[in-house]
Structure formats: C-alpha cells, structure tokens
Amino acid sequence: MSRKTLTRRQFVAATAMSSTALIAAPYVRGAYAAGKLSIGFWDHWVPGANDASTALVKEWGEKEKVEVSIDYITSNNKKIELTAAAEAQAKSGHDILQMPSWWPHAYSENLEPLNDVMEPLIKQNGEVNGTVKYLGQSGGKWLAVPATPGSQIKGPCSRIDLMKKHAGIDVQEMYPAGAPPKADNWTLETFLKAAEACHKAGFPFGIGLGETTDSVDTAGAIFQSFGAELVNAKGDVTVKTDEVRQALEFYKRLIAVLPTDAPSWDDASNNKWLISGRGAMIMNPPSAWAVAKRDAPQVAEQCWTHGFPSGPKGRFAPFLPYFWGVWAFGKNKEAAKSLLVHLSSPAAIEKFVAASGGYDLPAYANMTKFKTWAEEGPPKGTLFHYPDPYKQQTMSIAASPAPPKIAQQIYFQATLTKMALRFAQGEKLDTALAWAEGECEGFMRT
C-alpha cells in the first residue's frame, strides 16, 4: 500500500489553480438572485386595468431578477386603509403599498423617504401639481410616489343635450375637443343659474351632500373657489371669515336645487343619478360615463367631462391622487424604489392610462395629452379636457391648505358638507360656524 505525500510545490500549485478557477469562473445568477418584493396595489374597478400593472411589474421583475408578488386590494369598505393601518401597527407587510391621498402623511414616520426617486422622476416627467406636493411631501421629504392608477379629477360630467336645452350652455363649445377651453364665462354664478334651470326642468344636478369623498371633494373645490379655509396652512382656525360665509351662502342656494335625498348620497349615488338619465350634471371622474357606455349608451353619448366653474379666487378642480409608499420596515427597499421608477416611466404611465380607458390620471405636468383622452368616446373627445391639458385649473383637495393631519380629519368628518347642510336646513349662519369652529379645534390633537 503506497502513500503519496503532498510536496510544498504541489500544494502551492493546487491552491493557485483553485483560486484562479474561483475568481475566473462566471457568476451564475439564479432566476431571482436579487431577492423578493411584495406589493399591495389598489384593485382597479376597470376590467383588465390590473393586467397593465401585472405586466409592468412582471417585465421589471424579469429584468431585475426579483421575485415579485402582487396583492390587489379593494378600496371597498376602506380595505386599503385597514391594510395600511394593520401593516403600520405590525411593522410588517408589503414592501410597497398603494395608499389613498391622506395616508402618506398619516404614516409618515413609517415610510421610507423617496427623494432619490422623485427628484429624477420630476425631471423626466415634469413638475407635479400642488396637491401632490401637499399630500406627498413633508418637510422637504417625499413620503411616497404619486401613482397613476386610481388618481382622478372629480370635475363636472355634463349632459350635452340637457345643458343646452335647459340651461342654454353648449359644453362642447365651451370645452372643445382638441382645443383650448373657452370657459371665461363658466363661473360659479353661471353654474348656479344652470343648476336652477335644470332643477326647474326636472333634471337637477347630482351633487351629494353626504360624508363620502365625492360630496366632500365638490364642497372643497367650491370653498376654495371662494378662498374659504376652515384651518389655514399655519394650523390656525379660520372658520369665521367672510370667505367662509360667502361659500356657505352660495352652497345654501345650490342645496335648494339639488335632489332632496342628496344628504344621504354616497359615492355611487351620483353615478346612478347620471346613468338613470335623471340629472344634467354630476361631479365625478369618467367612471359614471364608462358604466353608462355599457348600461345606458344613449346617456353615455350625451356626456362631456370638462373643467370646474371658477369662483372669486380662481378655478379649482378636486384632485384625488393615490400614492405608492415604501415602508421603512420593508425588506427590499432598493428593489422597491427601482420598481417605482419603472412604474413612473412615461411608457408605463401611458399604459396605465390606456388600460383604464382614460380614468387614471398621472400627476406630472408633461403627461396630460395622451391619445387615449383624445380618442375615447362616444362622443369622441368626451375625455379630452378631463386631465386639464391646458392647465386652466388649480388641482386641489378639500380642507387644504390646513396641515395634512388636521385636514384629513376635516375631510373624513365631512365638516364642509355638514356645515353647509346645517346652514341650508335652517340653522343660523353663526351657529353653523360656531359648530365648525368647535369641530376644527377638536382636530388639533397631536
């Protein structure tokens, strides 16, 4: 039995060869070498719109070698808000979570700053509107990235025939497809006269006075058109001002010509109102029109989405953005940021808009003239002015410019609509103002 001994020279040679082989060998990357990522997206109501998100994420995952899982979470019954609350409490959950307008501020302490994502995106896609900055930024820090899916303007959707016949207003002429608006005379006074005329003719405007977002958003834009703020940007209660009084007087006249059950309306009521053919106008994104295309085509072909009437302090459109936030406790934050950049590229945004039939609105200035809005119909061009392509409106959200954590409470407690309704139902103006002042003082809790 022979025993071979290893010489010093042989040992050095073997070691050198092994080291060379290890260094020179190609790095074999596994299918998901860059880890895993989980996302909670808003479950889009437009059939097939989620497919665009899935395809974009899959495309990115394959390129970056990241294994991605997506949950589509419905906004029905506040499921997204509940998910956000649970994940923030548990410090565990998705890496990226799509959240409604006020939630980035509500969970600012739990969100990863995204300045390194937003600054290049703004350079690439154009400036974002003031409402997105107000809701998505805190102390110069970007809390979340504006998401195209779900973001919307709740402007007027008018019946072309009824407005022409009963109010003498040609909305297509005022907001022509493919051309700038000629809406200088489209003021709150004109709007009110049209509302009175349509009410008299049996086709009242369908504007809710309830506690859900559609009702509050309309009230917010009208109050802002008068410069009426319940709490100012510094956090001071400013309920008892002339501007608030003017806004309430206007609302009282408007409420007199709205449907009698408007105080109980939710976000579906105005859609039903338009689709049933009973109303000449609602304030909504084009979802009602899209459903009418399927269920009441004769109504859909008479619908025209356009800009908000202007008030003494300007023309304000209710804008409700969604955001994509990255939890600070997420496990793959760099991958999450990379995906958000991919989902915010011009090509991705155009896909989102096309997949939603024009419903989804990007927050960026250079992204308001896609062909989807020009071509959707019937009638062709009905959505052309939906994204405000000529920047004639100030994008706003109700209860701003109050500090967001106070404004969120004014918004969800529907203080604006409640105050207007109290006054319209016979409460004295000063009593309604005192009630709202008390409510706002209660919202100052930290």
Partner: protein, 312 residues
C-alpha cells in the same frame, strides 16, 4: 347531577393512595377532560377577544401619534366633544328602541307560531327565521335599494297613494327610523325562536288550571307566561342589547352615520375617527366607552336571573 357522580368517583378512587397520585387519575377526572376539550375555545377567546380587548385599552392611553402615554387624556378630550355625546344619545336610542321592538314582535309572533298546529308550525318557523340567517351585510344592501328615494319599491308603491317621495336615508328622522327598522327586522327572529322555546317549556296544566279558575288571556299571560319566561326574556334582552349597541354593518351600509352624524353609533363613529381620520387611540376610546354601559346592564340583569334561579 354530573358533578356529584364525579365527586363520588373521585372519593372512591381516593381510597387507594397510589392511584390518587398517578397522572392517569388526574387525566381521568371529568373536570380535566372538560378543560382540555374547551382549551381550543379558550385559546381562541384569549387570542381573538381578550388580547384585542387589552390591546385596545393600551391604545386608548396613547396620544394621537401613538408615541406618548397620556393616561385618561383621550377620554377627557372625548367627553368635551359635542359629537361624542350625540353618538352616546343615539346609540342608546337605537339600542333601546330596537331591542324593545324586537322583544315585543318576537313575543307576539312566538305566541302566534306556538298556536299553529304541528307540521305547519315547522314551515312558519323556518320562514320566520329567514331574516336572521341571511348575512346582515347582504340583506342590508337589499334594504338600501328599497330605501333609495328615487328608484325604490317603497317610494314607487307610496306614489300610488299620493305619498312621498320620502327621503328615507336623507332626513334625520327617517334615517333613524330606517336603521332601527332594519335592525328590528334582522333581530326579531332571534327573540321569536328563544321565546318559542320558552313557551314550549311552560306546562299546559298551568293554563288548564288557570282556565278552570276563570282566568282570561291577559291574566294567563301576566300570571303564567311572563313569570315562566322571565329568565329567558332577561338573558335574550341582555344578549340583544349588547349586540345592538355594538352594531356596525347596518348603519355603515345604510347611512355611514349620516345625515349630519345623526345615525352614528359607537362602532361606526369609532371606525370613522380611528381608521378614516387616523386617530386610532381616540377610536379605541370611543369603542371602549360601550364597556361600562354594557357591564352595568349585564350586572343588573344577570343578578336578577341568579336571584330568581335561587328562588326556584
């Protein structure tokens, strides 16, 4: 009776000291077996009821940002809010009115059903239980459509009589009426079935004796039926009061608390404050406020039941 048997069994076995010490003996006890059999349920209750309950007490002691302990600060803040006291008032109106009507309707219908002979009674019992077995979220949606002021069957029918349209959910009075009506519709079958079971346990001889003594129907109810059903009425009322006070789905679906907050209950307002306005500690306080009210009601009713049990 079972307990006595166990005790006797234990005493018999106690004669042998070796067996008494054995694990087999411990496991063989009925009480041990019963404990292990109920353990899964105990664990579920600890996990899904006790832990959240204590956690919500903890949450209620934090500030809005949930970074600081504020003790009872949230409660003192809440007690100064006009809306909170309105919600307290409304919850009481809602729960008491709904429970009274549920009990009354349940009692009357139980008597009718009790007097229906054999086979037919089964059919009626089944039909009358339908509202209670349909998931409330689903049936409330149907009510929502029925209450729709523009397109609903109610207003359509009323229009033939020249009445309406009634803003069922848009006017304060009608909105309160509507949420109570749906709660009564949903909850009355529970009372009906409990009362029916109680009625069946009242011996017929008592009624026969009362008839011989010349008692009329009211005297039979007052002196026989009601005393014999006292305990079941008390327990059913307490149970229903707790469930009705904590109601969420009916109000959430029908009115979301509107118009002007006039139909909010503790649960719906707690949801609005806690989840929608991102003030979880205050939301926890609102929902915890129910506890003392219900605890006091429970103590009084259960004490009375115990007393009567002892008398019996």
């Amino acid at each position: 009776m079972a307990d006595i048997v166990v005790e006797q069994g234990r005493l018999v076995r106690a004669a042998s000291p070796r067996k008494r010490a054995s694990l087999q003996n411990v496991l063989g006890r009925k009480s041990t077996v019963a404990f292990f059999l109920t353990l899964p349920l105990i664990l579920l209750i600890v996990l899904l009821v006790l832990y959240p309950a204590f956690y919500s007490v903890y949450l209620a002691t934090l500030n809005k940002a949930m970074t600081k302990f504020v003790g009872l600060g949230n409660f003192t803040f809440l007690f100064k809010r006009e809306t909170f006291w309105m919600v307290v008032r409304q919850s009481c109106i809602f729960a008491i009115t709904a429970v009274v009507f549920k009990a009354l309707i349940g009692f009357i219908v139980a008597h009718f059903v009790h007097n229906i002979p054999g086979k037919k009674q089964r059919k009626w019992r089944g039909m009358l239980l339908v509202p209670w077995v349909i998931p409330p979220a689903m049936s409330t949606l149907a009510w929502l459509w029925l209450f729709d002021p523009s397109y609903s069957a109610f207003n359509y029918t009323l229009s033939f009589f020249g009445v309406g349209p009634i803003p069922w959910l848009g006017d304060t009075f009608w909105a309160r009426f509507s949420v109570i009506l749906v709660n009564v519709w949903y909850g009355a079958p529970f009372f009906l079935i409990m009362y029916l079971a109680a009625l069946k346990s009242v011996p017929d001889q008592l009624y026969e004796a009362a008839s011989i003594d010349g008692a009329n129907w009211w005297q039979k109810i007052w002196h026989i039926t009601l005393p014999m059903m006292r305990n079941i009425i008390a327990i059913t009322t307490l149970f229903s009061l707790i469930v009705t006070f904590a109601n969420f789905d009916i109000v959430r679906i029908l009115t979301s608390g509107g118009p002007l907050d006039r139909t909010h209950l503790f649960a719906t307002w707690a949801f609005q404050v806690g989840i929608q306005s991102s003030d979880i500690p205050l939301g926890a306080c609102v929902s915890l406020f129910m506890v003392p009210i219900l605890a006091v009601a429970a103590i009084f009713i259960l004490r009375d039941v115990n007393k009567r049990g002892n008398e019996a």
